[in-house]
């Protein structure tokens, strides 16, 4: 039972992070390798807001979430907008450089020691016992529920929302979409802020559960295989990919070797790349050259 809970929690973490990769990739074909750092930035924003709104945990959390949305939009407007239409490698490297920059700034401002936003906000983290002798902490439970809600909202938004439709159109054929009067820069900025939002939600909830350190982006890097296994342009795929990767990781750690933790997602990734590079539910595409 505990094993099952671990898998579900880890899968939720991976899924919530992976949908950020998917959103940006689907809309603009850019792989955002700074996603982990932006996620960590969201978690640190909670720390900043908790001192700003002392005594109002809900206010602080809301402020952090809003700030992370703004961060995503700003990243697009000031940085990635210039990379629209550039080579794939250049765009990826820009995100890598952004990640390095964010990491440096975070360490400069908040130091690299482990910190606990939950304490700063004055929120406790009780553990529930589920039937079948499984334990789950409050914030892990919230994370699982948030994940489900986020996926529901994103599905609805992409399918029925006006901007969601524009995003799908821009992802399918940017040139045609632009000629039909869709504001491409607006769509891309929206994708970046949504992606940062989901990433920051994951970061914040993880930070509330177990604290935050400078090594948080590693988790996001491990969530990337989940996005790729499901197919880089498929939201539903990311959910299933996250389940597969998390399941493989938890089971292998439990039955084989705890040291494997860092490498399992990448083993799954390599296996997937050999068998079906475009993922379980992704569309097969002609890939760009350097």
């Amino acid at each position: 039972m505990q094993l099952l809970i671990n898998i579900v929690v880890l899968a939720s973490i991976y899924a919530l992070i992976a949908c950020g990769y998917v959103l940006i990739y689907r809309v603009s074909r850019v792989l955002n390798l700074a996603h982990g750092e932006l996620m960590m930035f969201g978690a640190y924003l909670v720390l900043a807001c908790s001192s700003l709104f002392a005594g109002h945990p809900v206010m602080a959390l809301c402020a952090a979430v809003i700030l992370s949305i703004v961060t995503g939009a700003l990243v697009y407007i000031f940085l990635m907008r210039k990379m629209t239409g550039e080579m794939v490698l250049a765009a990826i490297l820009t995100t890598v450089a952004l990640g390095i920059l964010v990491r440096g700034v975070v360490v400069l401002v908040w130091s690299s020691q482990q910190q606990y936003p939950a304490q700063a906000l004055g929120i406790s983290n009780p553990t529930f016992t589920l039937p079948g002798d499984g334990h789950i902490s409050l914030w892990s439970l919230v994370l699982v529920l948030t994940n489900l809600a986020a996926y529901g909202a994103l599905f609805g938004f992409l399918r029925f929302g006006r901007w969601g439709m524009r995003m799908r159109a821009a992802g399918q054929n940017p040139l045609l979409a632009a000629q039909r009067g869709i504001n491409l820069h607006g769509v891309y900025a929206l994708a970046w802020s949504l992606s940062t939002l989901t990433g920051a939600l994951a970061g914040i909830l993880m930070a509330l559960d177990s604290g935050v350190t400078g090594s948080m982006p590693v988790i996001a890097l491990k969530a990337f295989p989940a996005a790729l296994v499901g197919g880089l342009d498929s939201l539903g795929g990311a959910l299933i990919g996250a389940l597969i990767v998390a399941g493989a990781e938890v089971l292998l750690i439990y039955y084989v070797d705890p040291l494997l933790s860092d490498v399992v997602p990448f083993l799954v990734l390599v296996a997937m790349l050999f068998v079906r590079p475009w993922g379980l539910f992704g569309t097969r595409e002609e890939l760009d050259r350097v």
Binding site: M83, G104, V270, L287
Partner: protein
């Protein structure tokens, strides 16, 4: 490689020997001689700190040149370069620890590891391109690092594998000056290998693959063969760099080979300028010297004590900024700046090259 601009003023080759010569004009020969003279005298006047810096630049150059071969010329993106350096370093470390292997055994062994890993890293390139290839090399990087870490913990070297300084023909390499010359020779040899590879059949094949695979195949170039060849040669040279790195540092530990190192190498070829060996050298020097330059700059500022603990973070952040600036403002890198400078003086007092046929 042989761009016509700077040397096109009335120099014509009249036989094949001239066509094959590496240095074609007297100015080039004098320039190279001067460079060699400077490089040879440098260790006798430089401080130990500068000597160490030069050694690091040479080490980085080997890695950057081999990555340039792979990414800049053959067009195969690799984000797993640190994994290959780690493979070379660990081969050296394991061989010296387990069987006390000497230098002349570990070096070829590292190269061999590089060849094997090059095949492994290269296999995905037969099916994948662009982004997906980058991701697969990234994954392989983590797997190599995991294997290294596993060895460290299982054998109880959790703080790193210590390696004795090697001896070459009864002469023990402990002196910084000796290391300088060894690394200089290796870097120069790598450069020579790269230059000659690129102007031969394989270099032309790589560039054709880079430009357009379908056309290259139609021209009769074996795509899979040359892709694998690029990976194998590049990673063999990188592993040799790893082996030298291990000996130079005297200790091998997985912490030294994180993702940031891979990114640094990619940054070298981006900052230096894609598709140019000179760019790889310039980029290697730039990225290696950069943190020391930042540190020196920080020392000039007031309130040094306050910032001293954060020097690492400052380095990190400013490295990110520099990379972004190069990507956005100067995608051609340092070589782009260098060529613009050359053209400026070459065309002076004109600003642009006159169009052919218009000067009548």
């Amino acid at each position: 490689m042989f761009r016509p601009t700077p040397r096109a003023s009335g120099y014509f080759r009249t036989d094949y020997a001239q066509d094959l010569a590496l240095l074609q004009t007297r100015a080039e020969r004098i320039g190279l001689a001067a460079l060699v003279a400077i490089l040879v005298t440098l260790p006798f006047v430089a401080t130990p700190f500068l000597l160490d810096l030069a050694c690091q630049v040479f080490l980085a150059s080997i890695g950057a040149l081999s990555l340039m071969l792979l990414t800049g010329y053959a067009g195969q993106i690799s984000l797993g370069h640190a994994g290959l350096i780690a493979a070379g370093a660990f081969t050296t470390g394991i061989l010296t620890r387990e069987i006390h292997a000497p230098f002349w055994l570990t070096l070829p062994a590292s190269a061999l590891t590089g060849v094997v890993l090059g095949l492994v890293f290269g296999l995905p390139s037969l099916r994948l391109r662009g982004l997906y290839l980058a991701v697969s090399t990234l994954a392989l990087h983590f797997i190599v690092i995991y294997l290294g870490g596993e060895y460290e913990t299982k054998r109880g070297f959790s703080t790193g594998i210590l390696i004795e300084k090697p001896s070459l023909g009864g002469f023990k390499l402990t002196d910084g000056r000796a290391w300088y010359f060894v690394l200089l020779i290796f870097a120069a040899a790598t450069l020579l290998i790269c230059v000659n590879l690129l102007r031969s059949r394989s270099g032309r094949a790589w560039r054709a693959i880079h430009a357009r695979e379908t056309v290259a195949e139609a021209l009769g170039i074996s795509i899979s063969g040359y892709k694998l060849l690029a990976f194998v040669i590049s990673s063999a040279m990188t592993s040799v760099a790893g082996c030298l790195f291990a000996y130079y540092r005297g200790v091998v530990s997985i912490e030294a080979f994180d993702l940031f190192l891979s990114i640094q190498y990619v940054a070298m070829i981006i900052i230096g300028g894609m598709g140019s060996l000179l760019g790889a050298l310039l980029g290697a020097a730039f990225v290696t010297v950069f943190p020391y330059a930042i540190e020196a700059l920080l020392k000039l500022l007031p309130n040094v004590q306050k910032l001293a603990g954060d020097i690492f973070a400052v380095n990190y952040a400013s490295f990110g900024v520099v990379m972004i600036l190069f990507l956005i403002l100067e995608p051609l890198g340092l070589v782009g700046i260098w060529r613009r400078l050359q053209n400026y003086f070459l065309l002076w007092p004109f600003k642009y090259k006159p169009l052919a046929g218009t000067r009548k």
